[in-house]
C-alpha cells in the first residue's frame, strides 16, 4: 500500500453550518447581551446556541429607582446575599446557585442575570430580573424567540458514536450594528475562531468563523481563544478590541474580519499572566468626555483603557532579539479599585452595577452600584475621611447626610 496525500479543493472558508433553529427553552444560560432595542441574547453552551428573546412588554422602566449618590462617591447595595435571595426563589441551598453573567437593558436600566440551579448536567437555567429592587424570574415562554447554532453542529456521522463530547463554552456575546460577535473556549480545540453572525438571524449559513492570530512578544505567533471582546470606534473606525486567554489585548479593524480572511490582530498590550479577563465594558468618562473600556479580571483588579490610547498604541514589538514581557505592558492601563468584582455592566452615564463579594465580608455576594468614572465607592475603603472623628469631608458625604433611598 502506498499512502498519498492530496489537498481537497474545498473552500478555504471555515464555515460552521448553522441554521436558525427553534428551541424555546434554555439548556444552559451563560453570556448575556442586549441589542439596541429589547432583544436579550443568551449564550447556551450546552445546546450550542445563542438565543434571542424579544422581552418587549416584560421590560419595566427603572428610572424612579435611586442608584446611589454619585457626588459623594456612594453606590447603592441593591441586594446583600444575592445568592441567598435567588436560592429562596429557586428552592435550593445558596451554594447551588451559580450566577453566570449579568447585563443591563440600557433604555430601561433593568438588570438581568443568567443563573443555573445546581452544578450538574441537569442544572436548570433561568434568567432573573431586578425590577425596581424586586427579584423575579423572566418568563421566556412569553417572549418572541429565535436562536442560532454556534457550537459544533452534530452530524449524523458524529451522533453515530454516541453523544458528542465537544462543547464551546461561550464566554462573551457582543452586539454591534446588526451583528453578533461570539467568543468561546472549546473543550477539544485551542481555537481562535471568531464567530460573527447577523441579527436578526437568517436561515442561510451565516455563521462565519475567522481565525485570528496574535504575535507573542518574542519571535513567535500563536492562536488562543478570545475570552472577552467589544467593538468600539477608534479614530472613527469600528474596531474589535479583544482580550485573549493569556491576556494579550488585540486590536483589529472590523472591516478586516471578512469571511475566510486570515487575520493577525495587532497586539497593543498585555494584562499580565496568571490571570484571565472576565469582561470588557465600554463607558464614557463624564468628567472629561473621554471614551474608555474597563476590563475586569479573575485574579487582578480591574483596569481602564482609553479608546484614544488603544487607537494610538504602537504594536508591541516582535521578532528576533525582543525580550519577553510578563507583566502589564503596552497601552496605558489605569487601575480601578474593583477587586472581588464577578460581573460588571453600566447602568447609565453615571453608574455601573456589579455582582461582587462585599469588601467587608467575602461570603456576602452583593448586587451593588458604583459611580463612574472611578468605579469607586467611598464606603468600601478604610480611610480616615470615612471616620466620624475626622473633620475633613473631601467626599462631602458628612455634609450631605445619610442617603435616603426609595
Amino acid at each position: 500500500m502506498r499512502m498519498t496525500k492530496s489537498i481537497l479543493t474545498a473552500s478555504a472558508l471555515a464555515l460552521v453550518a448553522a441554521n436558525a433553529v427553534q428551541a424555546q427553552s434554555l439548556s444552559s444560560a451563560g453570556a448575556l447581551a442586549f441589542d439596541d432595542a429589547d432583544t436579550l441574547f443568551v449564550g447556551d453552551a450546552k445546546a450550542g446556541l445563542v438565543h434571542a428573546f424579544d422581552l418587549g412588554d416584560a421590560l419595566a422602566d427603572q428610572s424612579g429607582y435611586q442608584l446611589g449618590r454619585a457626588q459623594t462617591f456612594e453606590g447603592r447595595t441593591i441586594f446583600n446575599n444575592l445568592d441567598v435571595e435567588i436560592a429562596a426563589i429557586l428552592g435550593v441551598e445558596p451554594e447551588q446557585v451559580v450566577i453566570n453573567d449579568m447585563v443591563v437593558h440600557k433604555p430601561s436600566k433593568q438588570i438581568f442575570l443568567s443563573v443555573h440551579r445546581g452544578h450538574g448536567p441537569d442544572a436548570e437555567a433561568v434568567i432573573v430580573s431586578v425590577n425596581n429592587g424586586a427579584l423575579g424570574l423572566v418568563d421566556l415562554a412569553a417572549a418572541d424567540h429565535s436562536s442560532m447554532s454556534v457550537g459544533p453542529v452534530p452530524t449524523s456521522a458524529t451522533l453515530e458514536f454516541g453523544q458528542p463530547l465537544n462543547t464551546l463554552a461561550i464566554t462573551d456575546i457582543d452586539y454591534y450594528q446588526g451583528e453578533l460577535l461570539v467568543a468561546g473556549v472549546s473543550n477539544e480545540e485551542f481555537s481562535s475562531k471568531l464567530r460573527r453572525m447577523p441579527f436578526p438571524f437568517t436561515d442561510e449559513i451565516s455563521t462565519s468563523s475567522i481565525e485570528i492570530w496574535h504575535a507573542v512578544h518574542a519571535q513567535y505567533e500563536t492562536r488562543a481563544p478570545i475570552i472577552t471582546q467589544t467593538v468600539a470606534e477608534l479614530d472613527g473606525v469600528a474596531t474589535l478590541i479583544a482580550i485573549y486567554a493569556c491576556t494579550p489585548i488585540v486590536r483589529i479593524p472590523l472591516s478586516e474580519l471578512t469571511d475566510g480572511a486570515e487575520v493577525k490582530g495587532t497586539m497593543v498590550g498585555e494584562m499580565g499572566f496568571g490571570n484571565t479577563p472576565l469582561d470588557i465594558v465600554p463607558y464614557v468618562n463624564a468628567w472629561d468626555g473621554t471614551s474608555n473600556v474597563v476590563v475586569t479580571n479573575t485574579n487582578r483588579s480591574a483596569a481602564s483603557l482609553s479608546l484614544a490610547g488603544l487607537a494610538a498604541a504602537e504594536a508591541m514589538p516582535e521578532g528576533e532579539g525582543v525580550q519577553p514581557v510578563f507583566s502589564v505592558a503596552g497601552v496605558d492601563q489605569f487601575p480601578l479599585p474593583m477587586s472581588g468584582t464577578m460581573h460588571l455592566d453600566t447602568l447609565d452615564e453615571t453608574y455601573a452595577v456589579v455582582v461582587r463579594t462585599s469588601p467587608e465580608d467575602p461570603r456576602n455576594i452583593q448586587l451593588h452600584t458604583v459611580a463612574m468614572p472611578f468605579f469607586f465607592d467611598r464606603a468600601d475603603h478604610i480611610v480616615e475621611m470615612n471616620f466620624e472623628s475626622f473633620t475633613a469631608d473631601p467626599f462631602g458625604h458628612k455634609a450631605a447626610g445619610p442617603v435616603e433611598y426609595n
Binding site: M3, I7, L13, A88, T167, E221, R223, C246, G260, S327
Partner: protein, 356 residues
C-alpha cells in the same frame, strides 16, 4: 432515609405551636415523589380557600434561608387536600420549610442513594507525554458537579511537591454535555515559547521528570457523592512536540477485503483522543462515509466497519481542526515562527487500497 414518622411528628409539633389559621391539629405536609408536589392535609376548607384566594400567604423555600422570598408555586384544591406544585423540583435530601400563613411545616424529599463516582480514564493515556502537552481529559463514571476542578485537581512533581498554577485559570470549566469528561488546559502562557510565564515560571512539565495528577477524594458527583478516595494518574514527560501535524508521517494498516477487521492509523505522535473521534473520517471507494466503531488512545486510531471492506481505494480525511495533545494542527505548530501560521484551512486526505 425518608423517616415519615419523624417529619409527621415535626409537622404536628409545628402545627400545634403556631395556629393562626383555623386548622385542625393534624395539619401535615407530605412530598409526593411521583408528581413532585407537596400535599397538605388537615386544612379546613375555609383555610384552603383563603390560601387559594391569596397565595402570598403561603411560602415554600429551603429551610433556614435568610430571605422573605419563596419558590413560585401553583396551588390546587383536590378533595380535602391542598396540592402545591413548585415551579422547580424539590431537591432530594434538602430540608424545605412550608409556611402556611404562619404555620411552619418541614418537608424533606427522600434522598436517593447516589452512586459513588470513580475516575475511570485519563488522556493522554500514554506513559510518556510531550513536555508541551496542552490538553488533558479526566473521565468519570458519573456526571460530576461543576465548580470543583480548581481545588480538586493538583499536579504533583517528581519531588512530591505541588506544581504551582499549572492550569489555565478560566472562569468557566470545560466539560462535555454529560459532565463525565473534564478538559484541563495546561497554562498556554507557560507552554508557548518566548512568553513571560514560560521564561519566568518555567514550563509546568519538564522533560525527563515524572508527575502525578491527583484528584481529591472530596470531588463530588452531580448527585453529591464524593469520590471517597484520592485518585491519581502517573506519567513521565518526554520531549516537547513543536511541529505541525504531517499526516504523511502516519501509517495506515489496511484490512483484508471482505472482512470486518479494523483499519488502523498509527500516528507519529499523540493526537487529541477526544477530537479525533469526529475529525478523522473514512470514505469508501464511492465516496460514502464508512460507518462503524472507532477506538483510539491518541497513539493510534482504528475503525471496525459495519459493512465489510470492498475492493478499491478508501480515503482517510483529516479535518484541519484536528490537534495533537500539544495543540499543533495541520495548519501550523501551536507556536510558530512569524509568518508561517495559518496557511492551510483545507482537509488533508490520505488514501489506502484494499485489493483481493
Amino acid at each position: 432515609m425518608f423517616a415519615s414518622q419523624t417529619w409527621m411528628r415535626r409537622a404536628l409539633l409545628a402545627a400545634l405551636i403556631a395556629v393562626p389559621l383555623p386548622v385542625l391539629a393534624e395539619v401535615a405536609a407530605r412530598f409526593d415523589p411521583v408528581s413532585g408536589a407537596v400535599v397538605v392535609t388537615g386544612l379546613e376548607s375555609a383555610s384552603r380557600a383563603a390560601l387559594l384566594a391569596n397565595p402570598e400567604l403561603l411560602r415554600l423555600q429551603v429551610a433556614r434561608l435568610d430571605s422573605t422570598r419563596g419558590m413560585p408555586v401553583t396551588l390546587r384544591d383536590q378533595g380535602a387536600t391542598l396540592v402545591i406544585e413548585p415551579r422547580f423540583d424539590l431537591r432530594p435530601g434538602t430540608v424545605y420549610m412550608l409556611d402556611l400563613n404562619g404555620t411552619a411545616l418541614e418537608i424533606v424529599p427522600p434522598i436517593a442513594e447516589a452512586t459513588v463516582p470513580r475516575l475511570v480514564g485519563f488522556a493522554p493515556s500514554q506513559a510518556v507525554i510531550p513536555a508541551n502537552t496542552l490538553r488533558l481529559y479526566l473521565h468519570f463514571s458519573e456526571p460530576m458537579a461543576r465548580g470543583q476542578l480548581r481545588d480538586a485537581v493538583v499536579l504533583i512533581g517528581h519531588d512530591g511537591t505541588e506544581v504551582p498554577s499549572p492550569f489555565l485559570n478560566l472562569e468557566v470549566e470545560l466539560w462535555d454535555p454529560t459532565q463525565t469528561r473534564a478538559t484541563l488546559l495546561l497554562d498556554p502562557g507557560r507552554i508557548k515559547q518566548g512568553v513571560g510565564p514560560n521564561t519566568q515560571g518555567g514550563a509546568p512539565l519538564m522533560t525527563g521528570e515524572a508527575y502525578r495528577l491527583v484528584v481529591s477524594e472530596a470531588m463530588q458527583s452531580a448527585a453529591g457523592a464524593p469520590l471517597g478516595q484520592e485518585a491519581s494518574v502517573a506519567f513521565r514527560v518526554g520531549d516537547a512536540e513543536r511541529s505541525a501535524i504531517v499526516p504523511d508521517d502516519w501509517q495506515i494498516l489496511p484490512p483484508p477485503v471482505g472482512s470486518h477487521a479494523p483499519v488502523t492509523v498509527a500516528f507519529d505522535r499523540i493526537i487529541d483522543s477526544g477530537a479525533v473521534l469526529r475529525l478523522l473520517t473514512v470514505e469508501d471507494p464511492q465516496g460514502a462515509p464508512v460507518r462503524g466503531q472507532i477506538e483510539t488512545d491518541g497513539g493510534a486510531w482504528s475503525l471496525i466497519p459495519n459493512q465489510p471492506w470492498q475492493d478499491g481505494t478508501y480515503r482517510v480525511i483529516v479535518d484541519p481542526e484536528l490537534e495533537d495533545v500539544s495543540g499543533n494542527s495541520i495548519s501550523a505548530a501551536f507556536d510558530a515562527a512569524v509568518g508561517t501560521i495559518g496557511t492551510n484551512h483545507a482537509p488533508v486526505t490520505l488514501t489506502f487500497n484494499i485489493t483481493q
